[in-house]
């Protein structure tokens, strides 16, 4: 354990934590942009700087180990002025189109500029002018909005391990892109969208057929319905419609998803969804009421059971349905109809 004092609060923290981690154990807020607990600390954006008594310069809290006896200020005037300067530099080279940017309300840069009262950069410096890459069917990449925090690059290389994107060039011309400055769709990118999920600004954005503001949505935590990994995800819901999916940083997926989990939800509101029961009449499937359909099924079950016994029935249950539904299916066939002819596609 180490003894620390942050903003006048004395406490003990576990050995081996960074200043940021130690502060968080006490609920002390320090802003971050490039930080992600799952990644190797990067110290790129410096928005998390704090004042450590006796140190010559401000220290990035995300990558500075909390050492015995440290006295730390997270909101001193020097710290606040440093953060303002960082934000001015960032916003100087960032389009101020928050009015129409889909990220508005969920943009860390916007939130921090609000917090620190930054309206503009004010340097009148050179502006970035890159083409927007919308080659990928699921997301767009606008390098002009990128603040070079590197979260996308690190998630891609350290966690997703595809290695499609990296930093290209140096100095003012530094930007994130796929090798050879090609488009996303001409790269090894697998469209997992894990870079999109971590982008703190509007540089990597899901393509949205319908507009929504982040403050209008409700999040519902659930389990992905594709493969057997069982990734945990939040469905973003607006007006009874799923408009996006965000990965959850917990087991088993620890904040990762694949292309199907992240972007493959649009079947939900597809116009071809079945909306009513159908009964075949004169060779054609025709819309029917639930009562008609259920009465027909029940009467057929009774007839066949009388004529041919319970072994004349078979059920294909579903690896797509819930545990509770599979349980009821086998219960229906075993307890009510009387046969063990129940199986599903485990082998297929």
């Amino acid at each position: 354990m180490v003894n620390l004092t942050i903003n006048g609060i004395q406490f003990q923290a576990e050995t081996g934590l960074t200043i940021l981690q130690a502060a968080r154990t006490q609920g002390i807020y320090i802003p971050t942009l490039c930080h992600d607990e799952r990644l190797v600390a990067h110290g790129a954006c410096r928005i998390c700087v704090v004042e450590v008594k006796g140190a010559r310069a401000l220290m990035p809290s995300c990558s500075t180990p909390a050492a015995e006896g440290m006295v730390i200020e997270t909101q001193s005037p020097t710290v606040v002025e440093a953060r303002k300067e960082i934000l001015r530099l960032m916003i100087e080279n960032h389009p101020l189109d928050c009015l129409t940017c889909e990220k508005s309300g969920n943009c860390t840069l916007q939130n921090l500029c609000y917090e620190y009262d930054i309206k503009e950069g004010g340097f009148n410096g050179k502006k970035k002018n890159y083409p927007i890459d919308d080659s990928n069917p699921f997301f767009t990449y606008d390098p002009n909005k990128c603040i070079l925090c590197g979260r996308c690059v690190r998630v891609d290389n350290e966690l997703q391990c595809t290695g499609a994107i990296n930093f290209i060039e140096r100095g003012f011309n530094t930007h994130v892109g796929v090798a050879g400055d090609r488009e996303f769709d001409n790269s090894v990118c697998v469209s997992c969208g894990n870079c999109v999920s971590v982008c703190p600004v509007g540089a990597l954005m899901q393509k949205q057929p319908e507009k929504f503001r982040y403050w209008d949505i409700e999040k519902v935590r659930t389990t992905c319905s594709y493969c057997g990994v069982g990734c945990q995800m939040d469905l973003l819901v607006k007006n009874n419609k799923v408009v996006g999916v965000e990965p959850v940083d917990m087991e088993p997926n620890n904040g990762l998803l694949c292309v199907k989990g992240k972007f493959g939800y649009k079947f939900l509101n597809h116009p071809d969804r079945l909306r009513t029961p159908l009964i075949r009449k004169d060779g054609v499937l025709k819309e029917a009421s639930w009562d008609e359909a259920m009465n027909l099924i029940a009467s057929k079950i009774k007839d066949f059971k009388k004529e041919s016994g319970p072994e004349a029935f078979g059920a294909l249950s579903s690896a797509r349905c819930t545990n509770e539904e599979n349980y009821l299916m086998q219960k229906l066939f075993r307890a009510v109809i009387g046969t063990n002819n129940v199986d599903h596609c485990a082998r297929l």
């Binding site: 350290e158 292309v259 493959g264 597809h270 086998q330």
Partner: protein, 527 residues
Amino acid sequence: MTNGINELLGSDVILVIGSNTTENHPVIGSKIRQALKLGTKLIVADPRKIELSNDADTYLQIRPGTNIALVNAMMHVILKEGLENKEFIKERTENFEKLEDAVKDFTPEKAAEICEVDPEDIRKAARLYAKAERGSIVYCMGITQHTSGTNNVMSMANLAMLCGQIGRESTGVNPLRGQNNVQGACDMGALPGTYTGYQPVIKPEVAEKFAKAWGVEELSLKAGRTVSDMLNAAAHGDIKMLYIMGENPMISDPDLTHVKHALEHTEFLVVQDIFLTETAELADVVLPAAAFAEKDGTFSNTERRVQRVRKAIDAPGLAKADWVILMELMNKLGYSKTYNNPSEIFEEIASLTPSYAGIDYARLEEKGIQWPCPNKEHPGTSYLHKGVFARGKGMFMGIDYKYPAEMPDEEYPMTLTTGRVLYQYHTRTMTGKVEGLNKKVPESYVEINPDTASKLGIGNGDKVKVSSRRGTITVKAKVSDIVEESVVFIPFHFAEGAANMLTNAALDPGCKIPEYKVCAVNLEKAV
């Protein structure tokens, strides 16, 4: 999986066999690659040069259907070089002599001929796995979908037990389940031979327990029919009524001509689904169901983790959650039990299923729990077989290599293997409705080795007629050295150019799994 997904990060050697992990279980694929960054060594055995083969320390491009030859030879090397875990074999296993007998003559040279790989690579793989401190096997349908599927799985167990690579953290045998709740469907007794938690239907005391709990006089002690058996019985008129919930055998099952015949001959076919699938089109009654985001419930993932599914939106039109439909049908048939919500159904499941006994919705609120979880205080179980196997001692099986049911011949000289791709899912009921995914992989295709393609005068993108004894399809050629000269691959997702028009419905005699991974085909350029 005997172990949790994240335990793979702690393995020092991972053997991936018959699993295209980065495409079919992408997040587990990423975890494996994360492990490699931490220093884990990787062995890959697969007929296709899948992405992970590029990351492998040893890659074995085996012929489809030759898993047992490979594993037997690996075990031959391990025994010959004294790399087996003698203590584990003595303390925790039985029947070791049978295994010794079976692999005694199975030299790497012999296997190399069958598998068409370098015998030195077999030796390398054997040494790497056997010497690992914590070795993990990861496998999928490339192991199971064979007429030797059961034996393939037992071979995985043989190899793990021989090296003591099971029953510890990050050390085990890990089949990856292909669908969101295939683990749960099995756990719930949606199988012809077992009730929930794999309690056998043929045991009178089990049947009595369920009959009492369900308030019925008696339950059948006769094991039921598997999917393939049911379809055969339907074709012969022995089954009059089939009730299909959330499955699409008209794409997913082998030999589709036969499936169609069977479904058309079923007197009364009920299909309950979210779309009018190819199977639903043949139904007498179609019931509209709610999708996963429209209902509450639980799924059990491939590492046995029971996790919540939560309702986010309403189902369209008159569609209802599957559990509601099933309950209402039971009620209509005179069985009066009702449930107000899935949580109540789960309580009934837990009361009848020892491995789920300690789980309830309140506990699942924060995070999932891995079964077995025998009581409310139990934290769940990350890895299985610690200290002792479920049956006591681990039983070695002496397994001989057998050729697949259908081998290439003059008429059908090529071997077809099938599988999935990253951008599509199973029969495309869901992914087929997502524009971006269909932009990525819009249609069926056949992967052909460049040498084979040039011999047959086939260019990339050309239409190719692929025929087997069961049917013919026309698909686009994708010329790629991902496959060897005598092997072709077709994804099974598509209704147009359906791979399962070609596949062989020959079954594993034990578990009745069809041999999707090997059949003989002929290729010609379509005119």
